[in-house]
Assembly symmetry: C2
Amino acid sequence: MSKTQYFPKIDRSHKKDFKPISVPERLLLGPGPSNSHPDVLRAIAQPPIGHLDPYYIDLMGEVQDLLRYVWQTDNRLTLPMSGTGSSAMEATFANCIEAGEKVLVAINGYFGNRMADMASRYRAEVVTFEKEWGEAFSLAEVEEALATHRPVILAMVHAETSTGVCQPMDGIGDLCRKYDCLLLLDTVTSLGGVPLFLDKWKIDLAYSCSQKGLSCPPGLGPFTMGPRAEAKLSNRAGKVPNWYLDVSLLNQYWGSDRVYHHTAPVNMNFGMREALRLLAEEGIENAWERHRKNAYKLWNGLERLGLVLHVPEDLRLPTLTTVVIPDGVNGKAFSSHLLKKYGVEIGGGLGSLAGKVWRIGLMGYNATPENVEYLLNLFDSELPSFRETLSSSA
Amino acid sequence: MSKTQYFPKIDRSHKKDFKPISVPERLLLGPGPSNSHPDVLRAIAQPPIGHLDPYYIDLMGEVQDLLRYVWQTDNRLTLPMSGTGSSAMEATFANCIEAGEKVLVAINGYFGNRMADMASRYRAEVVTFEKEWGEAFSLAEVEEALATHRPVILAMVHAETSTGVCQPMDGIGDLCRKYDCLLLLDTVTSLGGVPLFLDKWKIDLAYSCSQKGLSCPPGLGPFTMGPRAEAKLSNRAGKVPNWYLDVSLLNQYWGSDRVYHHTAPVNMNFGMREALRLLAEEGIENAWERHRKNAYKLWNGLERLGLVLHVPEDLRLPTLTTVVIPDGVNGKAFSSHLLKKYGVEIGGGLGSLAGKVWRIGLMGYNATPENVEYLLNLFDSELPSFRETLSSSA
């Protein structure tokens, strides 16, 4: 050790002299992240404690219980993955697929495609059935696909962030029992903002994120696994082909054994605990109703301005609205203008909707009438010049 | 959507009524996490911004450049994984192993075993060579193992958090070139605290964590990959069997294309940026020297109290010291006492050192003479009663 002070010459080519951080203020009304609740930000700024500290061990249990509440599930294996929502998505596949098994993915947007890609990396035989981006699947379509493919897992997206569609779930759980497959549901853009009844709907596997309906910064991926999925995990022939996301190991830490797995992101979990506490204080049904009311207010206001919404009303997500970009308007120029001049972020389209829609999020802490009014006023005052510029330059 | 207001009865069995969060104050002098710098905590509490916001895109570049500086590397593919250090460990294997390839792991502690487990999950043929927990490998031992096994990757731990050993790296990079294999190095407990010259040492793959020498909360896993490892990744036959950690996808976001991959943990990266800025302001060589001086102060003080250190001085890590628990003392009872009465965390032993050593960390923000003096005073005043209690009850 004493020798280490005689080290070679330091290379300073990457030693940049940056100023202290100064983050611009943003109102995040895009597809996520959404703004965090100020109490959540205060919580994540608490000095860290050890991941095996008795206080932290108690906090883990609180997070798990409140996640069960907001997801309406009794699942024992309910915990936040130490990564973003995509890591929790990956955890569902990593733990429940064995090589060569057939996974059926319902694709009606960007995130269905992502699920298909992920499942293939776990050596599943991936089969898909598709709808246009902006439509949902009917029960008959789901049954036909199940009967045709006989998969071990059906993967669906409850709330397609790329399209703004809310997939009706009534009856799909029963179909999956009938065809003896697990039902995996992406609830990234629904948890905390859209009615969600995991157990009543017979969902076997689900995941979400921290930065939308939960009003927390991005960085944690809530994950849950019901008894049928747990049984499949227990019966695996080999180890889960992903150490970090291996639920059999994670449960030794999150369960009663408290065996060290990895050093938990304790500060993010301080924030998650506080975010869930605030949601429980509000009452999950009241949060859903708040999202519903503000979404209606937004939809009516946009339509009053002559704008067209991409998704039929009965399938619309309250958390994420896709607005058709009017003919001739440069959608990207308009959203850049809102960001630069007003610090307001709205999203553009992904995949087949790129350049065709804006995506407006009203999620968690941001689902308020004040934000809706502010955004409608901006559309009212700023959009005309984007139309005019265009027609005058044409 | 209008139908969703008529939802089933809410199950309130998991709706617990918790008080607002109140985190106990801790001085974290165990194996990590260490305390964060207050400026870093202020940074992570800034309201989030979008992961494609121009400000955030600039910040990503700043984080990458400063990571190159503290690691002393020019590697293009240098970025923090959106998970803890273990996720970055997994990324090294996931990206650079193809099924059936031989991976040689040097095991002289807990984290060598973890690397062997992870590599096997990526279907490597894992071979190992071992030393006692508390020893390091000689160049001759490394060469013998390379010559015998002819692996595609040699994986070693620079700073074994379980034992307090710093592996001397001189000459190992040259051996790996001679035997045509990649050199993968765990720098979890060395980055920011122990001299580390990735490029001069010819390291091809390395990873670390945020919560030790960088003075940030846990939650990010710095990762870097040199040109030889990058070439191996480019020549893969199939996709990386891990979507979340796929560097070919991640580089489209972190590189110049800025293609959306996953929603970045923006607040953690605010903290990482500030932590690295502070480290660059101090100067990496000054940070190393601060760790060295305070470690010596700790070692001398512990020896003056009659305690024995587990690792010979020339192999000792300045960041993590293993102290032999004196005969008859219940090590766990003593560390629990420090935590409960003084809010001071020190660690216990892992694996073959469980019950045999305490682990004391002086990392990043916590590597100060004041902390050393405070801890030495606690050992001086509190440890005798743990000896006495024992002898009186014997």
